[in-house]
């Protein structure tokens, strides 16, 4: 075990990071050691990176050398907002120092050069074109190399980056590997190095900074409304609308909260956007935590689309489609994107696959071939998973005489069928998921009408069951419509054939009105 980091007191006792733990213990017997939680650090650092998007829209965590610890900001076209590069660097570094971090920073043309300068010549700002000269005196480690490479280079007497400049590239590559050349080229800007921004880059956004941090959700929502008006005007000027809006809340203590809403069709109506955020905030419950306050709010729009601002035709019928879209937007912003669905037909004979549920705000084109055959009688309600029933039939392949479903016996007076539905041999997959017999005795009082109970939510079976594998003896289904003496009409089916190795099983799949 090694020391990953040391604090100021430990450093005074001549401990260094990278030292063996037993060596360190020998030097300082009363040493207090804690295990490093890398996952947590990574998360915190990622939050920290997001927060820096209040300085520049493109912020990335540099993961080439370590999963956390290095932050890259693309400040192209941003620095003048802070009064020049010098003052921007000072501001960014000093505000982090104010929070108690040990920080060093540098500004350079390339990611590699900035990394080297930040680590070995902190505070330097290299003007464009002088990268080569600035890097020359820095140690070889500044090229983001592996330990073996650094050791090898040092052995050869190559200690600084400048010593590599005139060398034969092929010889270097052959001896130290391709990455040395790659890193060198990246640092000097001969090869492009890409960074992946953590937050989506929005072309259109409006933001507001506060002199004094705010904390109440109401204030946030009011600001969101103001920003929506600003953003709406900009979108209107460009003739576009957006489907997705992000509200980014920058907290004083370097965290960012992101609220996202989706609209069914592209919009730029500030009232509508503001209302969607109000509903979204109601779904937050305990998640919202302003900490020590929010000092900047940004509203960004993405998924842009053209929106007409002209009047619709004179003979346009007001069919309320727009009202409905807005209603669905409002409802999904509060209830969740999957709460509201509608049936969509799929071109198949398998009943549970023939109609699937699709979210209303993400509609896809209907398939005209998938419309169900009107001659076939289909039930009004379908059980998401068919339930097993016990059946007594008069003749082996005929309709049943009596069935037992959910422990109640039904005397069947009328029946029609069978309608045989074969498995789709061109698909392979699991068998149809059927429900096991529920444990009736263990049923307790339903906690569902009380929203405050923290019991796990009942698992919702998917409307579309898994596919039936092709196995002619077990997956052919014969459907019957039956009616009992009380007038209840059921849709039942039999899997399997009489005389096969496995006895046929019966299931109840739906109800007719």
């Amino acid at each position: 075990m090694r020391l990953a980091a040391v604090d100021a007191v430990a450093a005074k006792a001549n401990l260094i990071s990278g030292q063996n733990l037993s060596d360190a213990r020998a030097l300082v017997p009363e040493l207090e050691v804690r295990e490093i939680d890398r996952v947590y650090l990574e998360q915190v650092f990622a939050d920290f990176a997001d927060w820096h998007s209040n300085a520049s829209p493109i912020v990335a965590v540099h993961t080439a050398t370590a999963p956390y610890g290095d932050l890259i900001l693309d400040i192209t076209g941003v620095s003048h907002l802070f009064g020049g590069e010098q003052r921007m660097l000072e501001l960014l570094v000093s505000r982090l120092r104010g929070l108690g971090f040990t920080v060093s920073g540098a500004i350079a043309d390339t990611v590699g050069a900035a990394w080297a300068l930040a680590h070995f010549a902190t505070g330097s700002i290299v003007p464009s074109g002088e990268t080569e000269a600035a890097l020359a005196p820095l140690p070889i480690v500044g090229l983001r190399l592996e330990e073996a490479q650094v050791a090898g280079l040092n052995q050869m007497g190559l200690k600084s980056i400048g010593q590599l400049y005139g060398r034969d590239r092929r010889a270097l590559q052959a001896r130290f590997g391709e990455t040395l050349i790659l890193r060198l080229d990246q640092a000097l800007g001969r090869i492009e190095e890409r960074i992946t921004p953590r937050l989506p880059i929005a072309e259109y956004y409006a933001e507001r900074r506060f002199a004094e941090p705010i904390g109440y959700m109401d204030d946030v929502l009011m600001t969101a409304r103001d920003l929506a008006i600003q953003l709406g005007l900009r979108l209107q000027a460009e003739g576009v609308g957006a489907q997705t809006f992000h509200l980014l809340l920058y907290r004083v203590d370097h965290k960012v909260m992101n609220l996202t809403i989706n609209a069914g069709r592209a919009t730029r109506d500030p009232n509508h956007i503001a209302q969607l955020f109000v509903h979204r905030s109601e779904r937050l419950e305990g998640e919202y935590d302003a900490g020590f306050g929010i000092d900047m709010i940004r509203l960004a729009a993405s998924s842009l689309a053209q929106v007409q601002s002209t009047q619709l035709g004179a003979f346009e019928v007001a069919d309320g489609a727009q009202d409905l879209d807005r209603l669905y937007d409002r409802m999904t912003s509060r209830l969740g994107p999957l709460a509201l669905t509608r049936s969509k037909f799929v071109n198949t004979h398998i009943p549970e696959r023939a109609a699937k549920l699709e979210p209303v705000i993400a509609q896809t084109e209907d398939d005209p071939e998938a419309l169900p055959d009107p001659e076939l009688r289909r039930p009004l309600r379908l059980l998401p998973s068919p339930e097993p029933i016990n059946v007594m039939a008069e003749v082996p392949h005929g309709p049943p005489m009596r069935i037992i479903w959910r422990r109640i016996a039904y005397r069947i007076l009328k029946a029609s069928g069978p309608e045989r539905i074969e498995a789709e041999w061109w698909r392979s997959g699991k068998n149809l998921e059927v429900l096991e017999r529920p444990e009736r005795g263990s049923k307790k009082r339903d906690p569902r009408d009380d929203p405050k109970t923290d019991k796990p939510k009942p698992k919702e079976p998917e409307h579309v069951s898994t596919l039936a594998a092709f196995d002619p003896l077990t997956t052919v289904r014969d459907y019957y419509i039956i009616e009992d003496d009380g007038g209840r009409r059921f849709w039942i089916f039999r899997i399997g054939l009489y005389g096969a190795a496995e006895a046929p099983r019966w299931f109840l799949h739906g109800f007719f009105a």
């Binding site: 209603l327 049936s343 009328k414 339903d446 007038g487 739906g510 007719f512």
Partner: protein, 285 residues
């Protein structure tokens, strides 16, 4: 003159309703009362229960079935009522259910909806976490003037659904002109501000031509438990009728001649017969 007195009384009622800030509620009731009045001009006569099946929009209905296994009948009847409210301006029907009750009751199945005259693309199925959110969704949908009807299908008896809430829903429905339907199960009845309460049970279907053993078109036994839309409808309370659902809407069936269907309808033969033969048979009917 008794007729004039009644007229004055109606006018006074409307005035009071306006003062109580529920003008449309009164209007809906007055509209129906007028329509029922035309059907049965004599004021002593009770309203025809069938007339109530064409109730105007803007009302809160309760549709009760005795047991959960009759859920399809209750929903079918409700769709029948809701379908009459569809207009070019109001094209959507919302169906709301609590998350986790779909295995208990089943979900509306797209291919079966067309039989009830409802376009599956226009029926929005909402599955919602808890009762508070469901009631919010219901109110929100009722307030939208492009929605024809909102159906809440509740397998349980939630405590959140009390008289105050139903009164609130009723007023909202009246104000926006959107009908709301609460589909409930069980024999217990809670205090409710719903104007109409139906008790639905499935009934043995009529005969299908050429196939006496096959189940026929949907048939319901409908009991009007509550009809608070005026004196006439109030007198229809407790009446029971037998109705069929056909492509043309509800059709009354005489209880004595249960075997005869009200409308001739061809049905595919249920026995596996050769396709051309089956086709000819159905055409002959």
């Amino acid at each position: 003159m008794p007729g004039l007195a009644r007229h004055d009384l109606d006018a006074l009622r409307l005035k009071i309703a306006a003062l109580e800030k529920r003008p449309l509620l009164a209007e809906g009731a007055a509209m129906l009362a007028q329509r029922l009045g035309q059907a049965a001009n004599d004021k002593g006569e009770t309203a025809d229960p069938l007339e109530l099946l064409a109730a105007p929009n803007g009302l809160l209905h309760e549709v009760f079935a005795d047991e959960q296994r009759q859920s399809a009948a209750a929903l079918g009847f409700t769709f029948g009522l809701a379908r009459q409210l569809l207009t070019t301006q109001r094209q959507a029907v919302l169906y709301l259910q609590l998350m986790g009750e779909s295995q208990e009751l089943g979900l509306p199945y797209g291919a079966g909806l067309t039989q009830f005259g409802i376009d599956p693309a226009r029926l929005v199925i909402g599955r919602i976490d808890n009762m508070t959110e469901l009631l919010w969704a219901m109110e929100e949908a009722i307030a939208c003037r492009a929605v024809a009807g909102v159906i809440a299908d509740l397998a349980s008896h939630p405590k959140a659904l009390d008289f105050t809430v139903s009164r609130r829903l009723s007023l909202r429905a009246a104000a926006a002109g959107t009908s709301a339907f609460l589909v409930r199960y069980g024999r217990g009845r809670e205090a409710s501000a719903a104007k109409l309460r139906w008790r639905i049970s499935p009934a043995m279907s009529g005969e299908v031509p050429f196939d006496p053993r096959a189940p026929g078109i949907p048939r319901f036994q409908v009991e009007i438990e509550k009809g608070r839309l005026g004196d006439k409808t109030q007198r229809a309370e407790g009446k029971t009728m037998l109705v069929d659902w056909t492509e043309n809407g509800f059709v009354s069936v005489e209880p004595r001649r249960r075997t005869a269907t009200a409308v001739q309808r061809t049905a595919p033969p249920s026995r596996p017969v050769a396709a051309p033969l089956g086709h000819r048979l159905s055409q002959a009917g």
